[in-house]
């Protein structure tokens, strides 16, 4: 079975946000770009399925400028077989534009499973997976935290408020992955060496007109300075008083 894993390159979670001079984008200076943490679970699960079936191919797909090839190379080092780089020098305007480009690339691949992270930690969108599934006309489960393949049906779980949903999904299907699904592996030295020889196919894409327009990117208002109410258990009385009388939250 051929599986596709869609990955995104994002600023790492240590990033301190500075807004660029245009007032609309993140200042890229000093920002380290990494594989989106939720995509690690997607990559890992595709590799586990391939290992369990002892057959098939994992194709990594990423959209972005030339820089995303570093991330694709990482995914190849983890064990993906080949990669497709959907090349666009302009940043993707919105999730629908990305989903359309991915759908176009995946349509011709006969993929039994398509994997994505549940959201990217830069825009926190959580949209590309379900949009892609809808455009492909395939079943989709978001935020998968448990996955089991039984022939041509996947049995999965996702977290909902106060509990979990169990679902059954016929393949081919699209899944977005949540923390808890698996423990992602690290790339081995052998994997890193092998990745150098694997193919990254470049395909230029045109993302079209924006479907959503960003007017501004702003920092949250700074929090008013707080205070230390005291030390040790002796501070509890004053804390409770402040919470009731000043903050009025008790």
């Amino acid at each position: 079975m051929l599986q596709v894993v869609c990955v995104k390159q994002v600023p790492d979670s240590d990033t301190r946000v500075k807004v660029a001079a245009d007032g609309r984008t993140l200042d890229p200076n000093g920002v380290t770009l990494v594989l989106n943490p939720y995509d690690e679970f997607a990559v890992e699960q595709s590799l586990r399925v391939k290992e369990a079936l002892a057959a098939g191919e994992v194709v990594a797909v990423s959209l972005g400028n030339a820089g995303v090839q570093t991330t694709l190379r990482n995914v190849l080092a983890l064990g993906a077989d080949r990669a497709i780089h959907l090349k666009s020098d302009t940043p993707a305007p919105d999730a629908l534009a990305v989903a359309k480009a991915l759908a176009e690339a995946i349509k011709g691949l006969d993929a039994g499973l398509v994997w994505l992270g549940k959201s990217a930690i830069d825009d926190d969108g959580a949209q590309v997976g379900p949009m892609l599934a809808t455009l492909l006309g395939r079943p989709c489960v978001t935020n998968v935290c448990k996955f089991e393949l039984a022939g041509n049906v996947a049995k999965v779980e996702r977290e909902i408020e106060g509990g979990r949903e169990q679902l059954e999904v016929p393949l081919p299907a699209v899944f977005t992955t949540d923390k808890g699904l698996n423990e992602p592996r690290f790339a081995s030295l052998k994997g890193i060496m092998a990745a150098k020889k694997k193919s990254i196919e470049e395909r230029p894409v045109d993302l079209g007109a924006p479907n959503v327009e960003r007017l501004a990117l702003e920092l949250p208002p700074p929090r008013a300075a707080g205070r230390i109410v005291g030390e040790g258990a002796g501070a509890v009385a004053e804390l409770v008083r402040a919470l009731r009388e000043e903050a009025k939250v008790l």
Binding site: P11, S13, D14, T15, R16, P37, Y38, A95, L96, I121, D122, D123, D124, A126, P130, M131, A133, T134, L135, G137, P139, N143, I160, E161, G162, G163, R164, E165, Q166, L167, E168, V169, P170, A173, K179, N211, V212, E213, R214, A216, L217, L219, P220, R223, G226, R227, I228, V229, G230, E231, G232, A233, A235, V236, L239, V240, L243, R244, A247, V249
Partner: protein, 323 residues
């Protein structure tokens, strides 16, 4: 023209997030033009006329046997059809587990973009502008919608439900929509409550979170007791989730849940940037930590420097005495 609201139901009952979405729809209708139409996907009538009290003018009842539980594909088909039928300018969906799954599908069916997890909507200029956090709240973006309708999900606890209009009933209409239920799709086969019906972190009024300072999983009893006294939901730092002390669903932060309760109590948590991202928009933050230099104190409204093993039991005691 209309504002369309997706009614999120659980076991036939309307969830509070639906009332918040209705409250916001009513405010938007004042500038964008009404009426406020609700689309309710259900297997059986659950007296939807009562949604009138929460702000609905009309309810489109999309009935299907498969809708006894959330059905991603079916609900998306019904909501997209309803948006077209009423000529919706905006489609408001709660940013719950179901709503976050549903909205992108609705947007894709309608061929429009969307804004998820919005914390504010503004229509004062005659056009909708959505404000939403990015990078778990390290920054906020403002988005406009070149296409219609604007599809948005509303973060729980950020929008006020309308004051109930006692006795106002909404007109309920059966809504016919086309959807091929025989096409392959994901089907919910069961629901299990792992946290015993407790309020979810994203909807909690009060959260007590514990970190590595607790030193061992069994010491989380201290956190649970304080949470019980406060009527709070338990959260955790990534360090203790990764150590296997707490379930993944409890992680607060950039790769966990983003929360904004009225009171957040951080116990034995240092305040790493990824944790702060997820909770800095809480209304009131309390930090209990033995290290006066811990970064958590930079965002805390009230800090107690001290050993949590002494402070937390004393605090729990004091809260219990309030009742």
């Amino acid at each position: 023209m209309s504002i369309l609201v997706y009614a999120e139901l659980r076991d036939g009952a309307v969830r509070p997030v639906t009332r918040e979405a209705l409250g916001e729809a009513k405010r938007l209708a004042a500038t964008l033009g009404g009426p406020v139409t609700v689309v309710a996907c259900a297997a059986a009538d659950a007296s939807f006329a009562a949604l009138g009290e929460a702000g609905a003018d009309k309810v489109l009842f999309a009935q299907h046997a498969a809708f006894a539980r959330y059905d991603s594909a079916g609900h998306a088909a019904a909501v997209a059809a309803a948006a077209k039928a009423v000529g919706a300018k905006a489609v408001l969906i709660p940013a719950s587990a179901a709503g976050k799954d549903l909205a992108p599908r609705v947007a894709a069916l309608l061929g429009v973009g969307m804004a998820g997890d919005c914390t504010a909507l503004d229509a004062s200029g005659g056009k909708l502008v959505a404000t939403r956090p990015v990078m778990a709240g390290k920054a906020y973006e403002k988005l406009a919608f070149p296409l219609s309708p604007a599809v948005v999900t509303l973060r729980p606890k950020n929008f006020a439900a309308a004051a109930p209009e006692a006795g106002k009933a909404a007109a309920v209409e059966a809504f016919a929509f086309t959807w091929d239920a025989a096409a392959p799709r994901a089907v919910v086969t069961g629901v299990s409550g792992e946290s015993g019906g407790k309020v979810d972190l994203t909807e909690a009024e009060i959260i007590v979170s514990g970190g590595r300072g607790l030193k061992a999983p069994e010491h989380f009893a201290l956190i649970e007791n304080l949470a019980a006294a406060l009527g709070a939901t338990v959260g955790a730092s990534r360090a203790v989730v990764d150590a296997g002390w707490r379930p993944h669903g409890e992680q607060v932060g950039q790769t966990g849940k983003t929360v904004s309760p009225k009171l957040y109590v951080a116990v034995g948590i240092s305040g790493a940037i990824q944790h702060l991202a997820g909770m800095s928009s809480s209304r009131c933050i309390v930090a209990i930590n033995k290290d006066p230099e811990a970064p958590i104190f930079k965002v805390a409204d009230y800090g107690v420097v001290g050993d949590l093993f002494e402070v937390v039991p004393a605090l729990t005691d004091a809260i219990q005495k309030l009742h």
